[in-house]
């Protein structure tokens, strides 16, 4: 485990920068090529960073408030290869205007192992403190307000402070069965004006938080395996963006996951993925308590490369516990690559790791 690695050697900040092209020669990647539409789909390597902080988790298994902000900022600096956090954010959002809204799509389906609020708020605070983002132009969201609240988020639908709410207010089986007739007063709801083809004759509708309220999006998933899809990282996280996730679990959730992510509203608005890898689940996910402490934050602008990297981390844990690899189930990762959403070719992924102290 990474903890063992940390215990053996104490690295100071940025002293340890391990460049691993996942089995290939490391090639310097110009920062300007690491973002936007040039994000390494073909000839250019996609950059994924994995920043560990041995104090990210406290002795009572909570996220350490002071360490998390340092970890978030260091993750962004390493990803963008900038020295200043403001410059890092400006590289991620080069066209950001004052009126623009950045939303953070978290994952709260598992209340024992959600996107931890401390990490999400640290990302928001980094934007507010470093380049003066208006807090009210930041929206933290997931499928239901109820799940956000249960996992420790502060619900705020006012015109002051960081906003936080779900697409619908709460979850119930009858509500989901009748989602086509869902009362819009029960939350902002789904955008019926922009149906998306998700494959095999299925159609989904995206959250209006994404289609109508977000200029850009940061995807903030959790490091977990998934009984059907093999893994649930950045790509699968968008099952919490659509109105009919329960219809899309056949055939390892493929091609649905890839097709959802190929929707222009997701593909074009997503500028960054920051994966909460403080803890992880390698078996029985997406539900259940965390099963190991990974003590890290992963980030990339390429969702496929990030998910491929996360899958290797989960596979390593499964190997330790004599379990089958999840790769065979996670066919959506390959499909996403085929759809031009990024790369799962290890020779085209540039993994940078850093251990903070």
């Amino acid at each position: 485990m990474t903890k063992d690695k940390h215990d053996k050697r104490h690295f100071t900040r940025r002293e340890f920068i391990k460049s691993t092209a996942v089995g290939a020669t490391v090639v310097y990647l110009a920062p300007s090529l690491a973002f936007g539409s040039d994000t390494g789909f073909n000839d250019i390597k996609s950059r994924v960073v994995n920043v560990f902080h041995p104090k990210l988790i406290t002795l009572d298994d909570q996220i350490h408030a002071q360490s998390v902000r340092q970890c978030v900022d260091e993750t962004l600096l390493l990803l963008t290869q900038k020295k200043d956090i403001k410059d890092a954010w400006m590289q991620i959002f080069p066209d950001l205007k004052e009126k623009d809204t950045i939303s953070l799509k978290v994952n709260c389906v598992n209340r024992k192992c959600p996107t931890h609020p401390q990490i999400t708020y640290a990302i928001a605070e980094s934007m507010i403190n470093s380049f003066g983002m208006n807090p009210n132009n930041i929206i933290i969201w997931d499928r239901t307000t109820s799940e956000l609240k249960k996992t420790g988020y502060t619900i705020n639908e006012t015109d002051k402070g960081i906003r936080c709410f779900g697409t619908v207010k709460s979850f119930s089986v009858p509500r989901w069965l009748i989602n086509a007739n869902q009362d819009e007063s029960d939350g902002i709801g789904y955008d019926k004006s922009q149906p998306i083809d998700v494959g095999n004759g299925e159609t989904s509708h995206l959250s209006k938080i994404l289609t109508q309220m977000s200029t850009y999006m940061i995807n903030v998933p959790v490091l977990k395996d998934h009984g059907k899809a093999g893994i649930t990282l950045s790509l699968k996280n968008h099952y919490g963006t659509i109105d009919n996730p329960h219809d899309l679990h056949a055939n390892y959730c493929d091609p649905f996951v890839g097709k959802i992510n190929a929707a222009p509203q997701i593909k074009e608005k997503t500028k960054l993925i920051i994966c909460d890898a403080a803890f992880g689940i390698y078996k029985g996910g997406p539900l259940g308590a965390p099963q190991w402490k990974h003590n890290s934050i992963l980030a990339s602008t390429d969702p496929v490369a990030l998910d491929y990297t996360g899958m290797q981390i989960i596979n390593a844990q499964r190997k330790k516990h004599n379990l089958d690899m999840v790769t065979q189930k996670a066919i959506h990762v390959k499909t996403a690559q085929t759809l031009g959403l990024g790369t799962s070719d290890p020779d085209k992924i540039l993994l940078k790791e850093s251990v903070l102290s």
């Binding site: 298994d61 007739n181 009984g227 996730p245």
Partner: protein, 177 residues
């Protein structure tokens, strides 16, 4: 909400609720009662899943594995007291053998066996700050979690676990003439 939407909801509600009512009877009967008397506030109405689709809506991608192992229905109820959350899951399976398989499936290294609860039982000190008590009894696999790692919290879930166990016993014991 327009009248036709209201009508659709009512009609769909009947379609959904009528079959659920017949199937839910057993599971609803073994949920603990009067938790409010101990200060626990129900977060939502208990949810009953009657097939893989409805289970998928609640436990997402974990549902297929539960079904593979024989789970056929499930009940979920969540309670809150002073920012401590108590989560209850009861799975009804197709056979006692399946229940045992489910119980074995989710065993972890941190689990400690318990005495005098169900056919077999264990308590797990979970990473992230929670305790979980689990047992199987007849065709029921029961999980109770609490987001507090105090001894008092552990005692609380074990008390509720025993209450449910008594109800299962009452429900499943052979009827005498």
């Amino acid at each position: 909400m327009k009248w036709h939407k209201i009508l659709s909801v009512i009609i769909l509600g009947f379609i959904i609720v009528l079959p659920l009512s017949a199937n839910q009877f057993q599971l609803k009967n073994i949920l603990p009662e009067k938790m409010e008397n101990q200060g626990w506030i129900a977060e939502d109405e208990p949810i009953i899943a009657i097939d893989e689709d409805s289970l998928s809506m609640i436990i997402n991608g974990a549902a297929p594995r539960y079904f593979e192992l024989g789970a056929r229905k499930a009940a979920f109820a969540n309670y809150e007291k002073d920012q401590v959350y108590l989560m209850l899951e009861i799975y009804e399976t197709d056979s006692i053998k399946s229940t045992e398989k489910l119980f074995e499936e989710f065993k972890t290294d941190n689990s400690m066996p318990l005495d005098n609860l169900g056919t077999r039982s264990r308590v797990t000190s979970e990473m992230g700050g929670s305790y979980m008590a689990e047992y199987f009894q007849d065709k029921f696999y029961v999980k109770l979690s609490i987001t507090d790692k105090s001894e008092e919290a552990k005692k609380t879930i074990l008390e509720y676990a025993r209450t449910i166990s008594d109800k299962i016993f009452k429900y499943t014991k052979p009827k005498t003439q």
